[in-house]
Amino acid sequence: MAQPPVIRVPRPARSSYQPHRPLSKNTLLQNQVKHFRELERRLPPGHQTGLDFDSITTEGQAAEYIRRMTTRLHQPPGKA
């Protein structure tokens, strides 16, 4: 039986990984953080991260903040 054609997909270079890339270089991520920040303001105090937003200056830091907020928003009520 004939086999389907297989297309090789190269992996990106290891050097592509740049979590310390300045957040200012990506307006999309900057705005995603802003949206979560607005959402956080509406949460009860016990659900807020208490994070200083000015401390989020890199892509990796933005990802960590977004992770914390997403996790909180998907928790059942009452579990801060």
Binding site: R8, R11, N31, H74
Partner: protein, 406 residues
């Protein structure tokens, strides 16, 4: 109804980030003249008024830094440079000058005209060669991500033409709510909690039950539990994984590595392709939210307005009634029921051409799974749908490629 449409149980939409049609697929015109890509002679003037031709020298990373401006005022310049502006026909002559506005570096501004050579994008190019590529799929708005992605979820952005938060207005529901209310299943798969979704306020806060992650998508494909409708978001940031590993952004947003996006697209395709029951009952649409400020040569056409007017603060004072589309983006529809090397005509064909946009997504899902449904924008109702591309003939296994990773 075609046999392919009759067999269709699942639709999966993967929406990538910020690349134009010509940048990603323009080179394919040389091997298939039906594809409305680049001849190599297209140009834009730079700030010294010298013409800058397109070049097949696009790089995976490190080239489009800073992120090319793609907010409404910048896109307006990209589209209408040298003309009186809307409602006239876009000249598509302002991309280089718009990029030069950011750093005033003439040489660097030329890179906005670069496109990927044949062989550089084995995944996207293979999918375009093997399935259906759209010559006329446009961003919904000549603006940035959030408002464009909103059209894929709601068929409108509720008047928003920027990256700002927007709020859902009655009577319009997301396609996920519509599906659930009609007794169907729908999920929005984001990559992981650290990447999350771009639809933060309306979906994440109010509808957490519709969300799952990319690992769950892979598991659902494997176990045959994929919902009727799935929307997949790529990874939007470089960040550590739970196991301490390095997770590369896969969204292809400049300046993220385009190859990481290639791997991601291939992994989505393979997950469907490797489950025989799923493969024959699923259509996968790979599309991009908007052009990211990168050159494309096709003037975006007018469209049916959605009844909203953008705030002038979002548009640089330019009146905008959501009555014209954004820049063209790559879009490919994939299914074994699609004839190999299908090219869906766009505006270059005044008789058969169609102008698809992101409102075509909820329009298509609603039409196929729900049927008559009135509580949506006139814009969505007028948007062309795409499942007519499924034929009566299912292509054999050996005719449909698969991907393997180095």
């Amino acid at each position: 109804m075609s046999a392919g449409l009759d067999a269709l149980k699942h639709v999966v939409v993967l929406m990538m980030e910020n690349r134009s049609f010509d940048h990603m697929l323009g080179v394919l015109h040389a091997e298939d003249p039906r594809i409305n890509g680049l001849t190599g002679n297209e140009s834009n003037p730079d700030t010294t008024n010298e013409p800058v031709q397109v070049q097949p020298t696009a790089a995976f990373q490190g080239e489009l830094d800073p992120d090319p401006d793609h907010h409404f005022p910048a896109v307006n310049k990209q589209l209408f440079f040298g003309t009186p502006g809307p409602p006239g026909v876009p000249s598509m002559q302002g991309f280089v000058q718009s990029y030069a506005d950011q750093e005033h570096n003439v040489a660097h501004s030329h890179k906005i005209m670069y496109y990927f050579a044949a062989g550089k994008l084995p995944v996207l190019h293979a999918l375009a060669r093997n399935y259906a590529v759209f010559n006329g799929w446009f961003a919904s708005i000549p603006g940035p991500t959030v408002c464009n992605r909103a059209f894929a979820h709601y068929g409108t952005s509720f008047g928003q033409a920027s990256l700002n938060i927007f709020y859902v207005l009655e009577p319009y529901k997301s396609i996920y709510e519509r599906m659930l209310a009609a007794g169907h299943t729908a999920k929005l798969y984001y990559f992981d909690p650290a990447s999350s979704t771009q639809e933060v306020v309306n979906l994440l806060k109010n509808q957490p039950q519709i969300f799952a992650t990319y690992p769950q998508f892979l598991e659902d494909c494997k176990s045959g539990n994929l919902p009727d409708y799935s929307f997949v978001e790529p990874n939007y940031s470089d960040h550590p994984g739970d196991d301490g590993g390095e997770l590369l952004a896969s969204d292809q947003h400049p300046d993220h590595d385009v190859q990481a996006g290639e791997v991601f697209i291939a992994s989505i395709y393979n997950a469907i392709r490797q489950n025989p029951d799923l493969w024959k009952s699923t259509a996968l649409l790979v599309t991009y939210d908007e052009h990211g400020g990168i050159y494309d040569h096709v003037p975006p056409p007018a469209c049916t307005p959605d009844g909203f007017h953008a705030p002038l603060t979002d548009t640089g004072g330019i009146p905008f009634a959501f009555d014209r589309l954004g820049v063209r983006v790559p879009s490919i529809l994939i299914s074994p029921w699609i004839a190999k090397a299908t090219v869906v005509p766009g505006p270059e064909d005044p008789v058969n051409g169609r102008a698809f946009e992101h409102a075509s997504i909820p329009a298509t899902i609603t039409q196929h799974f729900i049927g008559a449904y009135d509580q949506r924008t006139v814009r969505e109702k007028a948007a062309p749908t795409f499942l007519d591309l499924l034929t009566d003939t299912m292509r054999p296994e050996e005719d449909c490629p698969s991907f393997d990773f180095d």
